[in-house]
């Protein structure tokens, strides 16, 4: 029997994977993927909790997150393209003009 706990654990595991990805990935694209994993892990949680409570607002939230994630990635990819055109690299370490 798969209970709420399982979903939540899955959600937390995915979230952690996302966090690790955010911390470790040096490729900008991969970084964006990691953030998507973050958001989607939360989605799983929301849907599961929503189902558990029989309350629709969780699912609503999930839909909004999907929408926001989509637009976010649109902006993100735009920026990535700009950067790639300018520098020919999508390595995070190339973003070090400003520091200190």
């Amino acid at each position: 029997m798969i209970t709420l706990t399982h979903y939540l654990v899955l959600s937390v595991i995915l979230f952690s994977i996302g966090l690790v990805g955010v911390m470790r990935r040096k490729n900008l694209l991969m970084l964006f993927f990691s953030t998507e994993i973050l958001l989607n892990s939360v989605n799983i949680g929301f849907v599961a909790v929503s189902h558990y409570y029989g309350d629709l607002s969780g699912q609503l939230f999930a839909f909004f997150i999907i929408a926001v994630a989509a637009s976010e990635i649109a902006v993100g990819l735009g920026l990535l393209v700009l950067w790639y055109k300018k520098t020919g690299s999508i390595n995070l370490d190339s973003l070090q003009m400003m520091k200190g």
């Binding site: 911390m23 995070l92 520091k99």
Partner: protein, 618 residues
């Protein structure tokens, strides 16, 4: 009558200010004459006041308020009573003579006008000192004469030694002044007033301990001004000033201010005989101590300065033992003969082109007979030979010591009398008689101008006859001052007089005998005691090594090491620590996106950990 008081007081000030107007212009004989005239006017007023006081009218005026705060209220008040009028007459008389003398003495000096301005300012300060009717007014004069003394010792400011001596005098006096201030504070907080009459009226009600402290503090003040041991070194160095200054300030008037203070505060000291005994003992010690240094010194003015020091010791013995009128009497007679001696020495100096070493003089009698006679009179008076003034006053002091039963003091003074006679005549002999050593140096001595000599005659006259006024002086002053009761038998007194006269005479005769035959052999100069005396018991050296040098070193140390390296550096260190921690914290801002993201995650994790493990009391 008040107008005489004001004239006596302010005439010197007017003279000083007028002379000051010309201070920067070239020599103008007018300033000399003008100031001298004003001082003379002051003298005349003082004489008139003396006449009034003799008729038992004491003048007391409140000119205006000065300081008032809290319970304290001090005004410029002046009193002319038996003590102050004696001082006024003495001061103005000697001052007049010195002023006139100075016209001649300073005639070639480029700062002639400035000199008279200072000199008159000194007289003004001295008049305030003696005329004030309260302790703070006295303190004004006290510091005022200190200032003028500083100005006058350092008059030839181009000479480094002169300005050094001036500073030394001022600073030494300041040390003593602090003591005096403390005494004044103590009086104020116990009596609530600084007026003499109120203080003396209520001093008897105070605890004897407090009165003792008052006495001690005031005496510390007196020690500085009267150059008592251990604050005596400045007086000898003060001889750097022009000779009239030495005569007026460092012999006749200012240095006796300490004695004046003790006499004035006699009502305090009669309550505390222990302190009085201490004063007397110190006085006796200084009398011998200073006289011993005068024995070997070769500097004309310094010898006289030590002699002054020694005589001040005598006065303190009298004052300390409660014989105030005798102290005052000796103060007066001493003023006459000592200033005469100094002014004579000034003539000699002029004649010798400012040479001071008496070993380089000799045989001047021929060239400067009037001066020699005047100095001779002064020296005889100083030695205390009947019938000159010094005999009467000095002998009385020895009598007091004996009367008091302080035989040790008496013995010291007795020895001192012999030494005094010896060094006085050593000086006379070396300067005026014997070989004309100065010829070796190509100096042609010449006598001073006649008016200078004439100016000195009043002093000479007084040095001779002043002693005969002893009785009227006694009658006059004891109207105010406590009487001193002699309990000695007449025969004892006679014996004492003979003894004293004998030792004085033998001192003179020994000196004449010895120096007529060329003096002591050179060998004596290698004696340890001679060196000790010549170096003033190494006391200036001691001060130099133990106080002046360490003070300078400590000051530099405090500045460079404490202030700069500790206090300031610790302030800077705080700033630097903050800045360097900024530099450290800045490393967090690596600009690398990965590490920035990591910081965020780390932040979350740390907070999560805290959420689990940190449980404050809810």
């Amino acid at each position: 009558m008040e107008q005489y008081l004001y004239i006596a007081l302010f005439a010197p000030l007017v003279g000083s200010l007028v002379a000051a107007l010309f201070a920067q212009s070239s020599k103008n004989i007018f300033t000399g004459i003008f100031t001298s005239t004003l001082i003379f006017i002051s003298f005349v007023s003082s004489i008139i006041l003396l006449y009034y006081v003799n008729a038992n009218t004491i003048v007391n005026v409140e000119m205006m308020d000065w300081i008032s705060a809290g319970n304290l209220s001090i005004s410029f008040g002046f009193v002319v009573d038996q003590v102050s009028v004696i001082m006024m007459v003495t001061v103005t008389l000697v001052s007049t003579v010195v002023h006139v003398y100075s016209i001649g003495y300073m005639e070639h000096d480029e700062s002639f006008n400035r000199f008279f301005s200072y000199l008159s300012a000194f007289v003004f300060s001295m008049m305030i000192l003696v005329m004030s009717d309260n302790f703070l007014g006295l303190f004004i004069g006290w510091e005022g004469v200190g200032l003028c003394s500083w100005l006058l010792i350092g008059f030839w400011y181009k000479k480094t030694s002169a300005s050094w001596a001036a500073n030394e005098a001022f600073i030494m006096n300041r040390i003593a002044d602090l003591g005096m201030l403390m005494g004044i504070f103590l009086i104020y907080w116990n009596i609530g007033s600084l007026q003499y009459d109120i203080v003396f009226a209520s001093i008897v009600n105070l605890d004897i301990k407090i009165v003792s402290w008052i006495g001690i503090f005031l005496f510390i003040g007196a020690m500085g001004k009267s150059a008592q041991f251990p604050l005596h070194t400045w007086l000898a160095d003060a001889m750097e000033g022009p000779t009239p200054v030495s005569a007026l300030i460092h012999a006749a008037t200012m240095v006796t201010a300490g004695v004046y203070l003790i006499v004035r505060a006699g009502e305090i000291y009669t309550l505390i005989p222990n302190v009085g005994m201490f004063i007397a003992s110190l006085g006796a010690f200084v009398a011998v101590f200073a006289a011993s240094m005068a024995l070997v010194n070769r500097d004309l003015k310094r010898i006289i300065a030590y002699s002054t020091l020694s005589q001040l010791g005598y006065m303190f013995v009298a004052a300390g033992l409660g014989a105030y009128w005798i102290a005052l009497f000796h103060l007066m007679t001493h003023a006459f003969f000592k200033s005469l001696l100094f002014l004579g020495a000034g003539n000699v100096m002029h004649a010798m082109n400012n040479e001071l070493d008496i070993k380089k003089m000799g045989g001047l009698y021929k060239a400067m007979r009037p001066t020699a006679i005047l100095m001779g009179i002064a020296s005889v008076a100083l030695a205390g030979i009947y019938p000159l003034a010094g005999f009467f006053s000095k002998d009385k002091i020895l009598e007091v010591a004996f009367n008091d039963g302080s035989y040790i003091l008496w013995a010291a003074l007795f020895v001192g009398a012999g030494l005094t006679a010896f060094y006085s005549f050593r000086l006379i002999m070396l300067v005026f008689f014997g070989d004309k050593v100065h010829e070796k140096f190509g100096i042609v001595p010449h006598e001073a101008k006649p008016f200078v000599i004439y100016a000195l005659t009043p002093l000479a006259l007084l040095a001779i006859v002043a002693g005969f006024f002893e009785h009227s002086f006694y009658e006059f002053t004891t109207q105010l001052l406590a009487d001193y009761k002699f309990t000695l038998d007449h025969s004892v007194v006679i014996n004492l007089i003979f003894a004293t006269s004998a030792i004085a005479l033998s001192g003179i005769i020994f000196a004449v005998y010895k120096y007529i035959r060329g003096g002591f052999s050179e060998k004596i100069e290698n004696w340890r005691i001679y060196k000790l005396l010549l170096n003033q018991y190494y006391i200036p050296k001691l001060y130099e090594v133990c106080i002046i040098k360490p003070f300078a070193t400590l000051s530099r140390f405090a500045w460079l090491n404490i202030d700069n390296k500790i206090v300031d550096a610790s302030v800077d260190m705080i700033a630097k620590t903050i800045c360097s921690s900024g530099e450290k914290a800045r490393e967090m801002q690596s600009g690398n996106l990965s590490s920035m993201l990591r910081w965020m995650v780390v932040g979350i994790i740390v907070l999560l950990v805290l959420a689990i493990f940190y449980r404050p009391m809810v």
